[in-house]
């Protein structure tokens, strides 16, 4: 992963519906997790769900984060449905 990119991971239902486990995305300065979701949603098809208000949980470098959290080059950003363990 170059310094200008970040790694995106998907889990559970989202991973299955997007048919994608991980991908590398550009990391422009000032990007938030919500920006990244909006960029991904533009791919259309199942990706559109990322921008429809359906709950998507966000983790940045394996810690819970918010849509307004900054995502930077080198980060590991994960998107997943609400968790259901226990």
């Amino acid at each position: 992963m170059s310094e200008q990119s970040l790694n995106v991971r998907f889990f559970a239902r989202l991973r299955e519906e997007l048919g994608t486990e991980h991908l590398t995305m550009p990391a422009p300065a000032g990007q938030t997790a919500a920006d990244l979701l909006a960029t991904l949603a533009k791919r259309g098809g199942p990706w559109a769900q990322l921008n429809t208000g359906q709950p998507v949980m966000i983790a940045i470098n394996q810690a819970m984060a918010k849509p307004q959290s900054a995502v930077s080059a080198g980060d590991e950003v994960a998107f997943f449905p609400p968790v259901t363990g226990g």
């Binding site: 889990f11 983790a59 470098n61 997943f80 449905p81 609400p82 968790v83 363990g85 226990g86």
Partner: protein, 160 residues
């Protein structure tokens, strides 16, 4: 990169995420061996029930986010140890395919007093359900489906 353990002067978090089953007896024995100041041990074990969202469920499949899961649960133990007397805490969560009546999760807490043991154990379990990155699929003869998060679980966690 995230660390897999957190330092805590009061309780060392001990977290295992594993496919294999666990021996609650052995876990209890290790919790009991926590020094002469321990007066109370509270444990919780979750089992796969026969009636989930649907009646024809034959088992569960559990996926998790390796690394983050351990970190989140370690942090919950540290939080618990900041709020209550926690001498030792142990969490085990299984992943993969689990048939009906399997053990899924174990939470055990040793404290000086019973109120602390109960509160810390229940807090860790409640918070785990809404913050640790696990996802459950129910398996049926007709296929499989992801389980939706329950509003009641979120409310329980917010109650802490």
């Amino acid at each position: 990169m995230p660390k897999n353990s957190s330092a805590c002067s009061k309780a060392v978090p001990s977290v295992s995420i594993q496919n294999m089953d666990f021996d609650a007896a052995q876990e209890y024995a290790q919790l009991r061996d926590s020094g002469a100041g321990t007066g109370a041990i509270a444990t919780f074990t979750g089992l796969v029930r026969d009636s989930g969202d649907r009646q024809d469920v034959t088992g569960l499949f559990l996926e998790h986010y390796p690394g983050m899961t351990e970190q989140v649960i370690s942090d919950l133990i540290v939080q618990a140890a900041q709020r209550w007397d926690v001498r030792k805490a142990r969490v085990i969560h299984r992943i993969g395919r689990l048939p009906l009546q399997s053990q899924i999760v174990f939470v055990g807490v040793c404290s000086a007093h019973r109120g602390d043991a109960f509160a810390a154990c229940e807090f860790i379990m409640d918070a785990l359900k809404t913050s640790a990155p696990f996802w459950k699929k129910e398996l049926t003869d007709a296929g499989e489906h992801w389980v939706e998060q329950k509003a009641s679980d979120v409310a329980r966690t917010e109650g802490w």
